[in-house]
Subunit: 367 residues, 2 copies
């Protein structure tokens, strides 16, 4: 397998919002399409908690990306027109400097000595990578889920760096329900005796905690409505079951188990903790003297599309409406799209038809 | 502290739905008020997963019960008129025979050798206790949450034993979202190394697993809407926080922690597993050739009140509507009460004003 990943070295030292500093840090990114001579056709995608920069297949890495059906020639994010960049979040172990990286000061992995990470740091690192590509202003900044919050940070911290924005299934800050869920995910990892205050190894790994965290994630990423239709009370066949009296019995349990197994060893537990906590911390109101709307009104862009889903329990629709209202009050031409996709928060990864229509339509209409 | 608990010895052997048998088993119960000479004023309350039979204060045990504001002289469940019984579920360690009880065959606690428990067994045990009190027919059967499913089982298995029914925040069977949540709660307990396949001791106890299970419970028992108003993003005072970099920071986290601490050692982990699994298994459709409505139509009572809450994510309102429709189709005079209480599934424990009005009104109207 070839690798389409590029790396951008961050300024060293790289000062972080909450006081820490990174030396010799970098972020990984991938690109699709071609940057115009005027460097005015760049679209940046900021990701959710765990996806990598590999959002779509690439000549150098033909494996499908996490948003494969959205990005490519003739697709909603049309790489014949746009130069598309996806940056792996600072703090994520999918190629960027993260708690699993070696601390140049000690030659050992940072683990919990990694400085406190905020989404503002994620945004600043992405901005540095974009600047490094010779792009002064993005034609469009797209942020999905956690990446939607990073995108708000990006626009707040770098005025004039974005012309248009697409906000996907996100929020201006976490509500207590989302905080409670993420706090419990972190607790499941931290209570796993194999976590060892972050000093786990591959052979002694907090699998149980990561499994619980992932399953709880999947439960809140989807919707009860979707599952009523999809799983109902269907049971596994006897040959799919083991002898454990409390083992898997219903299909929905097996579905969660499959998700957990695929996830557990593909994302560093400490990265999970740092990015999850950063999601709880982020708050647009910090930029508006305690008020979300006033914070959003500091974002000056030309146009925006804000998309949300009525079945999303993690980032409820009223929070997308808040974003749309704030950006509109700040003077942007804003389109608010409320979808009824049954897939909940994950709809942007599944209901490609509706998201393609919205995002593709918006991008096509950009001059 | 005096104890108002009474015990009813179950027939021995007590045959269970899924094939097991208990010898020398009993259930604990408490009563309030006085049984009429005709034994026609009895109201039975079946509880949720973890509450005891101590639903209200009593001369012999003046400590407040779990439904204290609902039960008593002049209250909605008026003990001046009604002889009120609350039975602790078979399988619960609050006085009834359960996995922590000694197996008379071995002299050792059952633990996982306790036979498979279903809500039908819970219902049969409660019915035996009621019969033991000389009551052939209940004036009213009230079931809350899991107890609402036990109540449906009670009426299906003992035709003619109930005149009126109040169904509170329950369902005719679990939907996949509820199964997923409960499965994950059980997994958190089972993955705790101290669980030891049920062979834990007081000194080596699955505290972490129980804590996660309880927090996940509380998250799904309440509602996001309530928490937006109650906790928002309020942070703990510095003196309430410890040095743990991933420790409690937001009030909602501290609220969950308090709930977990109060719960962890007051409910036996194996009881939790057995009753939780029984909740997933229960399905009214088993009594209706695979159809919920046909199952409900087998229940013949005179009147019913079915109460649900629009903010309940564990037992969504449409499931209470299903119960109301089924009982109506079977010929009962049914009142369906859809409340908008913000407290979610737990509203019946918190929104005493609305539940009192509904339940009190219904009971008063019974001839």
């Amino acid at each position: 397998m070839h690798d389409a990943r590029r790396y951008h070295a961050l300024p060293s030292p790289f000062a972080m919002k909450r006081g820490g500093v990174l030396h010799g840090a970098h972020v990984a990114y991938e690109t699709w399409g071609k940057l115009s001579a005027a460097a005015d056709n760049a679209v940046l995608i900021l990701t959710g908690l765990s996806p990598s920069a590999h959002a779509a297949a690439h000549a150098e890495d033909p494996s499908p990306g996490w948003w494969e059906d959205m990005i490519g020639p003739g697709k909603a994010i049309d790489t014949d027109r746009w130069f598309v960049i996806c940056v792996n979040s600072l703090g994520s172990d999918k190629g960027s400097t993260c708690p699993a990286s070696l601390d140049p000061a000690t030659g050992e992995p940072y683990r919990l000595s990694f400085p406190e990470l905020s989404l503002e740091d994620v945004a600043n690192a992405a901005h540095a990578a974009v600047s490094g590509l010779g792009i002064a202003q993005l034609a469009c900044l797209i942020g999905c889920s956690m990446g939607g919050m990073s995108a708000l940070a990006y626009m707040l911290l770098h005025p004039g760096s974005v012309r248009a924005h697409i906000s996907v299934d996100t929020a201006p800050r976490a509500q207590p329900f989302a905080i409670a869920i993420r706090s419990l995910q972190r607790e499941a990892i931290r209570l796993d005796p194999n976590w060892k205050e972050g000093q786990y190894s591959h052979d002694s790994y907090p699998e149980a905690g990561m499994s619980i965290a992932r399953k709880l994630g999947v439960i809140t990423y989807r919707s009860a409505m979707e599952w009523n239709g999809r799983f109902a009370r269907i049971r596994l066949n006897p040959e799919q079951r083991d002898d454990d009296p409390f083992g898997l019995e219903f299909e929905v349990e097996s579905y969660l188990e499959g998700h957990a197994r695929r996830f557990v060893h593909t994302f560093d537990p400490n990265s999970y903790l740092y990015l999850s906590r950063a999601s709880d911390w982020f708050d647009v109101a910090e930029y508006g003297e305690g008020d979300v709307q006033r914070g959003l009104e500091r974002i000056h862009i030309e146009r925006a599309m804000v998309i949300g889903v009525s079945t999303d329990i993690l980032f409820p629709l009223e929070q997308q409406e808040e974003i749309a209202e704030g950006l509109k009050a700040a003077g942007a031409d804003v389109e608010f799209v409320a979808l009824d996709s049954p897939q909940g928060h994950d709809a942007f990864l599944v209901d490609i038809e509706n998201y393609s229509r919205a995002i593709g339509g918006f991008l096509t209409s950009l001059r």
